[in-house]
Symmetry: C2
Subunit: 202 residues, 2 copies
Amino acid sequence: MYNDYPSRLLEQAVEALNSLPGIGRRTALRLALHMLRQPEDSVRRFSESIRSFREGVKHCKVCHNISDTDTCDICADSHRDQTTLCVVQNVQDVMAIENTRQYHGLYHVLGGIISPMDGIGPADLTIDQLVQRVAEGGVKEVIMALSSTTDGETTRFFISRKLEPYGITLSAIASGISVGEELEYTDEVTLGRSILNRVKLN
Amino acid sequence: MYNDYPSRLLEQAVEALNSLPGIGRRTALRLALHMLRQPEDSVRRFSESIRSFREGVKHCKVCHNISDTDTCDICADSHRDQTTLCVVQNVQDVMAIENTRQYHGLYHVLGGIISPMDGIGPADLTIDQLVQRVAEGGVKEVIMALSSTTDGETTRFFISRKLEPYGITLSAIASGISVGEELEYTDEVTLGRSILNRVKLN
């Protein structure tokens, strides 16, 4: 549907929006027409903020997180525990962990996860750079905060093997029942894991 | 969630995307990070196509549809029936009707629908311009192709009253069961309407 656009400019804007993941042509058209109802200035600012983000944003040369500067704010913060690295898949995961306010060490952003199905191997990630960071010394613990999926486990296993020679503590975030979750509705694999990984109370 | 962005540029891009209707912060973040994985050139083209659309697109001075030129392609097409106007709410409706390939007259785009709940009155729409077009002569029929909602009916009624003095044919698109629809699952109001508006076969 919507084959004939009344305007080439509209068609190009719709095609641009439609190229974004999860945005179909109908939604793209709705978004474009929404923009037409906004002040020209605000759409110009929209367009400009996308362009300057894409052109200006960097990856931190230490942890590979997204940053406006060569070294990100977290890596540059001398109050943070420099001896602990938390390995995560992507930026969203850094943000999610930061939001917990429970972690005060540094990060290492892999930029993805080993996924043979998607053709993503260790060389596509920043694993070599992680090994390099550990090899340089000063790191006492590496916490792997990866998704509890097959790909996550594979990646965790691969990284563990790579880091083993350095004699540091390797850990992984706990898996178990969610806080506030009813036991009755917890899936059995998670429940089983939560029993195996039980925490001593005394 | 996601309160602390690791980059101001990222935050601005997320805020821009988040300002679009139906795009929450999480989706906006996902879209921004998707753009980061695209070539800089393609994101620049994306940004540019949005800006040039907003700055360059016009409304046809005859039918008020979106257009790249002062008069849109439909109004400028002398092969189309100049005596019939189809009144629609917006651009999408023009595109939907064009896609049926069943209509060969001209359009009149209201730019909305009378909606007291949303504070949209006749003066916010192009109703005066429609009356003007009819008053200038040459129009024999006005087909109202408005949604079958209370607001649609109100608008239809209002326009009919305004156009009555000109002695032209006024019509509205038929309402009834959808093609391919099972009678059993048709709502009773639609079904009732389809009986009242039955079509003679002989």
